[in-house]
């Protein structure tokens, strides 16, 4: 899919500072036609600034913005074929829903008959066909959100930018809007670039996820790649949950704090020195003490500290013999009735589920220097 096709949006080496503070550092990103890409990061990671630069509301200090191959770095927003859905929707309060959606078409001097037709189509697309005469203030948050989407899409932009569009909605409506966004994306086929701090949202919606941190790109990949093969401990922590264990590598053999040798995924050799070993909670399996582990399985002895029943799953919290806290997400079949706080257990996990980072530069359990060794 990446081959041959020209990217719809290219951000090349974008640098941006505000009052001496570097907000973006050499950020490069290519968005393919029809792609739904999420830019994921905590607040202050620069993701919103990146979106503003793509839209033209901010100028990069250096770097290039290309839209369908054309350099638009110096083009003002009102001459870019790109539209934005704002976090607070930014519907014009003094205009009806129809006039809001028609606004972009009228600026382009589209004929009134065509305006009426296209606005009607856009409103139908977001499921609010009869809302034209309404005033924005009479709409619920979810409805305003859809109108904002219609107002942007009616212009048939090359790229649609969405700035945390669902963050102001309550959970239930947010879930429904996620499905709506996905459906609309499939229906119109427009390229979507979506900024969010909600990792679950990014995983559910996006074809590809870009994880940002401190103004730099941490990793770009599919949700599965990012979840299963996080490039840094930061990504591993930010997307999903992670158990971190201390380790040590010598002569190509990695060991946990209890001294047992660690099975690693095929072809991965640990860097020498202190290690940070990561395992997702749902990859841990609980077994009775004395159970034999598989040939390619790691085992860790621990004592249960707490069991929390959560309906479909049960969280078993435990402490290893070397004092490290771990969480294990178990299905109903994994938790036998005999498990009680205080029980000694064995935590087992597959070699393939093991992540190893070097501990250099580790701070407070997070590091950007840490790299997946492959």
């Amino acid at each position: 899919m990446k081959l041959l096709r020209r990217p719809d949006l290219e951000l090349i080496g974008i640098d941006k500072g505000f009052r001496g503070k570097q907000v973006l550092r050499r950020v490069s990103l290519e968005v393919q036609p029809g792609e739904f890409i999420a830019v994921l990061g905590p607040s202050g990671s620069g993701k919103s600034t990146l979106l503003k630069i793509a839209a033209g509301f901010e100028q990069p200090d250096s770097g290039t913005v290309r839209l369908q191959g054309e350099d638009v770095t110096a083009v003002p927003p009102y001459r870019r074929n790109i539209n934005t859905v704002f976090q607070n929707y930014a519907l014009f309060p003094h205009m009806s829903v129809f006039d809001n959606v028609a606004y972009g078409l009228r600026r382009k001097k589209v004929k009134p008959a065509e305006v009426t037709q296209r606005v009607g189509e856009a409103l139908a697309l977001v499921g609010l066909a009869s809302f034209g005469p309404r005033q924005p203030e009479t709409l619920s948050g979810g409805e305003q959100q859809r109108i904002a989407l219609a107002r942007a899409l009616v212009n048939r932009p090359a790229v649609l930018l969405l700035d945390e569009p669902l963050s102001a909605l309550d959970l239930k409506i947010r879930r429904r809007m996620q499905g709506e966004l996905k459906r609309i994306h499939e229906e119109v086929g427009t390229t979507f670039l979506f900024v969010t701090h909600d990792q679950e949202e990014a995983v559910v919606l996006a074809d590809r996820i870009t994880v940002m941190r401190d103004g730099g790109l941490e990793q770009v990949g599919t949700a599965r790649e990012i979840y299963d093969r996080p490039a840094t401990p930061f990504v591993a922590d930010f997307v999903g949950e992670m158990n971190w264990l201390r380790g040590q590598a010598e002569g190509g053999v990695a060991r946990l704090a209890d001294g047992n040798a660690l099975h690693l995924p095929e072809g991965i050799a640990p860097p020498a020195g202190a290690l940070r070993v990561g395992v997702r909670p749902e990859r841990l399996r609980i077994a009775a003490v004395g159970a034999t582990s598989g040939a390619r399985e790691n085992a860790l002895a621990a004592t249960i500290t707490r069991i929390t029943f959560q309906g479909p799953s049960t969280v078993v919290e435990a402490r290893t013999e070397t004092g490290e806290a771990i969480r294990c997400l178990c299905g109903p079949a994994d938790v036998a009735g005999a498990l009680l706080p205080g029980s000694a257990i064995l935590c087992l996990w597959d070699a393939e589920a093991t992540l190893v980072f070097d501990a250099a530069g580790a701070e407070n359990g997070l590091t950007r220097k840490g790299e997946l060794v492959e």
Binding site: Y78, I82, Q87, L91, Y103, R107
Partner: protein
């Protein structure tokens, strides 16, 4: 009066938001109603009643008569003075708005740092009593004033200009200066309230900066403009200190006529009649504004 209607229209909405017995609503409105009755309705009623009295050398003759109203219509002077005052007030209002809008826009949308300090600086001269601020224009505009001196010294003119002071021009100039804050503040507030994302949205949808201004900023600041216009107009139509100090004989306004009835002439009933006429004229202009911009939006911006 028009705003009273829209204010009380908010009552049921509040009651609906917090379910309360109807009787409680009456209680909530009671203090406002009392204040309005005491300080607005009662004085107006007194004025209205007094306009049917007659002043004699022995004091007020309280037998009702239409004498004051006959006087009002029989002499065209009073109508002409009212028209002149309306013209001056409208001119002053328009000039104040024209100057205030760019200043307010600059403060609300372009200044990012030191905004509070700049606002204070703009208003610093207005901490001085306004009589003094008005007097201050005399050494500027007088025959031997700063403007004439500079023009003479640079050879632009060879004898001092008399047209600068003690006429309608100086009245308008000084009133514009004095009322400027009443124009800047409401406009600034309404502009400050406009979400910057709305401007981004209009640019994003293809509107040039000028189109954004015309289609988004201007309509959304209309309540502020209307509030500024009404405030300045009402202040200007009742003005009497500025015309007295810098107006000379040709710069006299309706307010001076009224003030004279309560001072030198001691004819309160005639003064009350003139005041009623002025109040009605001001109300008529406000009603005209209210037809364009709902007053609820001016006073209850949400």
């Amino acid at each position: 009066m028009a705003n009273l209607g829209s204010l009380s229209a908010e009552g049921p909405k509040l009651a609906a938001a917090r379910p309360r017995p109807q009787a409680f609503l009456g209680l909530q409105l009671a203090p406002t109603a009392l204040l309005l009755a005491l300080f607005m309705a009662a004085p107006l009623a007194v004025m209205f009643g007094m306009s049917f009295f007659r002043a004699t050398i022995f004091g007020l003759e309280t037998t009702p008569s239409l004498g004051n109203y006959e006087k009002l219509v029989s002499d065209p002077l009073y109508g002409l003075l009212l028209l002149k005052s309306l013209r001056i007030s409208l001119t002053v209002t328009v000039l104040v708005l024209l100057i205030s809008y760019p200043v307010a826009y600059w403060l609300a949308k372009m200044v990012t740092r030191w905004r509070t300090a700049l606002l204070l600086l703009i208003f610093a001269p207005y901490w001085v009593n306004y009589v003094i601020r008005t007097y201050a224009w005399m050494p500027l505009l007088g025959r031997t004033g700063v403007v004439n001196s500079v023009l003479l010294a640079t050879g632009v003119i060879d004898r001092p200009l008399d047209m600068l002071l003690f006429n309608e021009f100086s009245v308008q100039l000084v009133m514009v200066y004095v009322y400027l804050p009443f124009g800047i503040v409401p406009i600034y507030l309404s502009l400050d309230r406009i979400d910057d994302n709305l401007l981004r949205a209009s640019a994003d949808l293809g509107a040039s900066p000028w189109a954004s201004f015309r289609q988004v900023v201007l309509p959304l600041s209309a309540p502020g403009l209307a509030g500024a216009a009404m405030t300045v107009f009402v202040l200007a139509i009742g003005a009497y200190v500025t015309p007295r100090l810098v107006g000379g004989p040709s710069g006299i306004m309706y307010g001076n006529l009224i003030a004279d009835q309560f001072g030198a002439s001691f004819n309160w009933s005639w003064g009350a009649t003139l005041s009623l006429v002025l109040a009605l004229a001001a109300l008529a202009v406000i009603a005209l504004v209210a037809r364009r911009v709902p007053l609820a939006k001016v006073f209850l911006q949400s």
